[in-house]
């Protein structure tokens, strides 16, 4: 068990359920948020070690949220975009937002879990 805590913001309840189950199976502690209010509540109370943010959401673009978290709110932990957009677009959005990268939903569950492990538990790789 890594014990590291991951917080995921996504407007799809199904994505949140699947991602949470996959990461918990791998030993991570997972918080989820379906909107910005829930996200801020979770973020402030759970102090995550890694934040994953969807891009296309009803309230805001995830890369804009991520940029504010990093530049304005001073969040130091890794922040990654977590989206179904194509990798080149995700890479550009992450770079523009000044955050740590992205995870493509297109890569599937094993790659998703592996990427989170590589960031939070690199010794286990």
């Amino acid at each position: 068990m890594t014990g590291n805590r991951v917080l995921i913001l996504d407007d799809s309840a199904l994505i949140l359920d699947v991602a949470k189950a996959a990461l918990e199976d791998a030993g991570f502690s997972v918080g989820t948020a379906i909107d910005l209010a829930q996200f801020e509540h979770e973020r402030l109370h759970s102090r995550p070690d890694l934040v994953l943010i969807d891009v296309n959401m009803p309230e805001a673009f995830g890369d804009d949220v991520a940029a504010v978290l990093r530049a304005v709110r001073g969040l130091k932990v890794p922040i990654l975009l977590f989206s179904n957009l194509e990798a080149p677009e995700l890479e550009a959005r992450a770079r523009e937002a000044g955050i740590d990268g992205f995870i493509s939903k297109r890569a599937g569950i094993p790659a998703f879990v592996s990427r989170v492990k590589s960031i939070l538990d690199p010794g286990a790789q």
Binding site: S12, A21, K105, G108, I109
Partner: protein, 98 residues
Amino acid sequence: MTDQLRARFLRPFLEMSRQRIGRCQALIRQSRPDPGAAAKEMHAMAGEAALIGFEDVARLAREVEATARTWAGGDATGSTTITLILAALEAALDALAR
């Protein structure tokens, strides 16, 4: 692990996907079609399908999304094309359910 998760989330995935297809059909058939909103529904569905590993469904949902975005940009054949791909999507979901 992936197969277990796929089996565990198959039913909610099918339920959610059929709801998304229904909303997409309504959005393109209404008197003032909203292809932009239809594209968002299919973008979300493609992400869910891809993460869980239903790649055929993800590919079809991406086709609808791309067609809806083209339609929103002025392509008059968008509605018919989307209707056909949505039918293929429903067939793909039926195959997963069997």
